[in-house]
């Protein structure tokens, strides 16, 4: 799969996909999108990188580290990072649910504030659900990438 056409295409589309996925995630509350869809799309971008450049590319080409070839895939630094990501994601989701308890509201209660007269944007809405959704995003990206990289390395 690591053909020149594939690599060239990947170089162009991966950044676009990442931007789109971020926007999908941010806009989720008002437009189609959200943590889950954004997460899957981000994973797709990584999958394309794996497909075009091989599994070690993220580590060697992007982060500039050396890869120990004999290492088990599950102990790989990148895989550990992915694993962390979904662990953190789960923690964020749970913590964001616990915060309302401090204010005497039930677990996972969400609220929102609207800021008006913000320069450039005009009106901006911050929903507490965004934190929860970010947890969702992290779990999806971390979980899927763990699966993908471990299975792919086989």
């Amino acid at each position: 799969m690591t053909t020149v056409v594939m690599r060239t295409t990947a170089r162009v589309i991966v950044p676009i996909i990442l931007v789109v996925s971020t926007s999908l995630f941010v806009e989720g509350h008002n437009l189609p999108g959200g943590g889950f869809i954004g997460g899957v799309l981000t994973t797709t971008a990584f999958a394309i990188i794996y497909l075009a450049f091989g599994l070690d590319f993220v580590e060697r080409g992007v982060l500039g580290r050396d890869v120990d070839p004999g290492k088990e895939p599950s102990r790989d630094r990148v895989v550990v990072a992915y694993r962390r990501l979904f662990e953190y994601g789960l923690a964020i989701a749970v913590l964001s649910g616990l915060v309302p308890l401090l204010f005497g509201r039930p677990f996972l209660t969400q609220t929102f504030v609207i800021f008006e007269h913000v320069p450039l944007y005009g009106e901006i809405e911050i929903a507490s659900a965004l934190a929860f959704d970010f947890g969702v995003y992290c779990v999806v990206v971390g979980g899927l990438l763990t699966i993908l990289s471990v299975v792919g390395a086989e």
Binding site: I37, T43, L51, S74, Q110, A129, L148, G152
Partner: protein, 786 residues
């Protein structure tokens, strides 16, 4: 007068607390831990004794909104049973240190014994069906640990497995019975008290009527009978009890004569006011008398003193069950009074058997005799309790057996039961003859000539003799003043298990009545047949050897062996390590269950759905999807297959867009893309071509057709019930999305604002999937190295 909550709670909790702290106690006290057990058991006993005469429910609120509470119900019957467990427990703990001297795993032994005592008290006092079931199974669990005390011993393992298998298996029947009962109770005493046994016992007639109306009377009766019968070693499940004699003797005395095996009898007595009737009479009187007779005969065939006592225990349990089976007041009196009498004499007999085995070094009946010279005190004890077991007047066993005869004779007066009216008393007498026989045989261990093979017999230590001595004294006290025992505890137990109140009177008969005649016949025939004991014993054993299927144990071995072999055979077929085989069985199993579910629910797709009603755009998209589906099947390379498969997926995404579900469409699109990429990533690893036999092709065809058909039918059936227009929930979400969640994308607002908890669950699923795959891969690479 209502009972005191704290006292009841303390009585139940104390053994468990002690059980938990046994390891520490054992560090401090060593083999004297048993004496700490004495203190605990005695404390529980005294706490319970202080509640004598009270009746009512006490409870500790736990989750009030769900009406979950730790509830206890005290009445004469429960109190009698609980006090029996604690009282005999005290003596057993007193006996154990000397008997178990030098044995391994004593900490575990005492932990299990204490937990066991606590669970028996729990069963006796719990007012909640679920709590009863939990305590009930806890007793099985503890007995499993105790029977298997000698863990390295094969027969011990076999026996503990068997006891577990039978009693826990029976417990599952009981659970279903209790759940059915709670369904009916929900209608009668209100949904709040659906599991509250105490509430049901307040309106037994209404419960029985409701059970009959709903057609659940016989199922509930049958299920509870199986559960209780398995626990109380009733025919044909009686064989586990003699096998359980692999346990140390204190355990046999405590669990297998005095308490656990009686839990079934206890429960029969407990349910008696609700379920008593014609069916009840036929079921339990027949079951009990059969058990009584069969096990009495088996006891005569026994060659080991503990085996003899075990069969006789099962036989006496049959007597109690038969007693409760008879619907007259005498039936209840038999059950309650004999429960008390039997506990006193049989626990003492087991302890005597323990002393004999401990001091003489053998348990074989033929090798023992003339022990009265070596063990004079034990001999006196044995005379009292063995004659009591035989039912010889004036010993206490006589009174309760008289009551059984009375009840058996009375049964034909109360009910039109035809030939059974003669058969019941006849069988009761026939079985009792064997009881007299084996009781005399046990007594003969202490009389007659001393066999030459018997070596020196040591004097037992004092604590070994005290426990059976106390029991024998109690038995003697009941023998001399039976009315005293009745007034103290038995009367209140009878009131709780019988329908009507009746002043119970027990005394030696002064004039002739049918029961007196039956007793006379029993004792006379027993004494007359005793000289031929060895011939009867050998004849029975010869018959058993000639035809092993007569013995229930043979059936157990055959069934368990067959199941083990069959399980291994099925396992080899289903778990053969090939992914295809796993997938085949999983898919076919799922399809079978789904289709069976639809069939059972009588769900039929309405014929209106089998039409075509779609906008042209939708029709076109679906048509392309169908063509793509065909193309997948026809493609000759993996790449082509995967690409055409993704066409199908994208068509579905477009269908979602046309059906105004942009979120779903977006999800479908990204997931489809990701799946396509993953396929491309692994596709190089898949071999280009498989050698597949025609049979495999046929199998795959069948599986794929079945899965396709199931999916199709499921979609048809589940979308059939689509409501007209939007539902209340849908409208509520649409209206509340902006004011409550601050978002205009209802799907997302629902996911994170309204149903965040569900999303949280899904997150955990994703995380678990990742962790499991990680684990699988790590474990597999670990396995390769070996």
């Amino acid at each position: 007068m209502p009972p005191e909550l704290s006292v009841v709670l303390a009585a139940v909790a104390l053994p468990f607390v002690a059980a938990v702290s046994t390891p520490v106690l054992y560090r401090l006290l060593g083999e004297r831990t048993g004496y700490a057990g004495v203190a605990v058991a005695l404390a529980s006993f005294l706490l319970l004794a202080s509640q004598r005469g009270t009746e009512g429910t006490v409870g500790l609120e736990w989750i009030p909104s769900l009406d979950v509470a730790l509830r206890f119900y005290l009445d004469g019957w429960g109190l009698l049973f609980a006090m029996l467990a604690c009282g005999i427990g005290t003596l057993i703990f007193l006996y154990s240190p000397a008997y178990m001297h030098g044995e391994p795993h004593l900490a575990r032994f005492y932990t299990a014994l204490l937990a066991f005592m606590g669970s028996i008290v729990g069963v006796a006092l719990a007012a909640d069906l679920i709590a009863i079931f939990l305590f009930w199974e806890l007793t099985s669990l503890c007995s499993f640990v105790l029977i298997g005390h000698y863990t390295a011993d094969d027969s011990s393992q076999y026996a503990s497995r068997m006891a577990m298998f039978i009693t826990v298996g029976g417990g599952l029947f009981l659970l279903v019975g209790l759940l059915l009962l709670s369904v009916v109770a929900g209608d009668v005493v209100g949904p709040d008290a659906a599991f509250n046994l105490a509430a049901m016992l307040e309106t037994p007639e209404a419960m029985a009527e409701a059970l009959r109306e709903q057609g659940l009377f016989l199922p509930v009766l049958g299920l509870l009978a199986i559960g209780a019968g398995a626990k109380s070693a009733q025919v044909p499940l009686h064989f586990w009890l003699p096998n359980a004699m692999a346990a140390p003797t204190p355990v046999s005395a405590f669990l297998h004569s005095a308490t656990m095996v009686k839990v079934g009898v206890y429960f029969i007595g407990r349910m008696r006011p609700i379920l008593v009737g014609e069916e009840w009479l036929f079921l339990f009187a027949t079951l009990g008398l059969t058990t009584m007779t069969v096990c009495a005969i088996m006891a005569v065939a026994a060659t080991d003193i503990k085996e003899l006592l075990a069969y006789s225990t099962a036989s006496h349990l049959g007597l109690m069950v038969a007693g409760f089976g008879f619907t007259s007041i005498y039936g209840a009196e038999t059950g309650v009074f004999h429960l008390l009498n039997h506990a006193l004499f049989k626990a003492a007999l087991f302890l005597v058997a323990g002393i004999v085995a401990h001091e003489a070094g053998t348990r074989n009946i033929d090798n023992l005799g003339g022990l009265r010279h070596d063990l004079p005190v034990t001999a006196i004890i044995t005379v009292i309790v063995a004659l009591s077991m035989a039912g010889i007047p004036p010993f206490n066993g006589f009174y309760s057996k008289e009551l059984l005869f009375e009840a058996a004779v009375e049964a034909s007066h109360h009910h039109d039961i035809g030939v059974l009216g003669v058969l019941y008393p006849a069988v009761a007498v026939f079985g009792s003859v064997f009881t007299v026989l084996y009781s005399l045989r046990f007594l003969s261990l202490f009389f007659g000539d001393r066999p030459d093979a018997l070596g020196h017999v040591h004097r037992p230590s004092t604590t070994l003799v005290v426990a059976p001595g106390v029991l024998a004294l109690l038995a003697a006290a009941v023998s001399i003043r039976p009315q005293l025992a009745v007034d103290v505890i038995v009367q209140s137990g009878v009131d709780a298990t019988a329908l009507e109140h009746h002043e119970m009177h027990v005394s030696l008969p002064t004039s002739y009545s049918p029961p007196v005649g039956m007793s006379a016949v029993t004792i006379a025939v027993g004494l007359a047949a005793y000289p031929f004991y060895d011939r009867i014993h050998d004849g029975l054993n010869a018959t058993l050897d000639a035809a092993p299927p007569i013995a229930a144990n043979w059936w157990y071995d055959a069934i368990v062996g067959g199941l083990t072999g069959g399980g291994a055979w099925v396992g080899d077929r289903i778990h053969n390590g090939l992914l295809r085989t796993y997938a085949t069985w999983t898919l076919l199993g799922t399809c079978g269950l789904a289709l069976a579910g639809f069939a059972a629910a009588g769900t039929v797709a309405s014929s209106e759905l089998i039409g075509f009603d779609a906008a042209p755009a939708v029709a076109l998209v679906l048509l392309v999807a169908v063509v793509a589906g065909l193309a997948v099947a026809l493609s000759d390379s993996h790449i082509a297959g995967v690409l055409t498969l993704s066409i199908l997926g994208f068509m579905i995404a477009i269908f979602y867009i046309l059906a105004s579900a942009p979120d779903l469409a977006l999800t479908q699109l990204v997931v489809e893309t990701l799946v396509l990429l993953i396929f491309l990533l692994v596709i190089e690893e898949i071999p280009e071509y498989y050698e597949v036999s025609l049979g495999k092709y046929a199998r795959d065809a069948v599986v794929s057709l079945a899965v396709g058909a199931t999916a199709f039918i499921t979609v048809l059936v589940t979308t059939d019930a689509r409501p007209e227009g939007s539902t209340d929930i849908a409208r509520a979400y649409a209206e509340q999305a902006v004011p409550e969640g601050g978002g205009t994308n209802i799907v997302n607002v629902t996911l994170v604002d309204f149903r965040g908890f569900d999303t949280m669950g899904e997150l955990i699923v994703v995380a678990m999937a990742a962790i499991s795959i990680l684990t699988l891969i790590v474990m597999r690479s670990g396995g390769d190295d070996e």
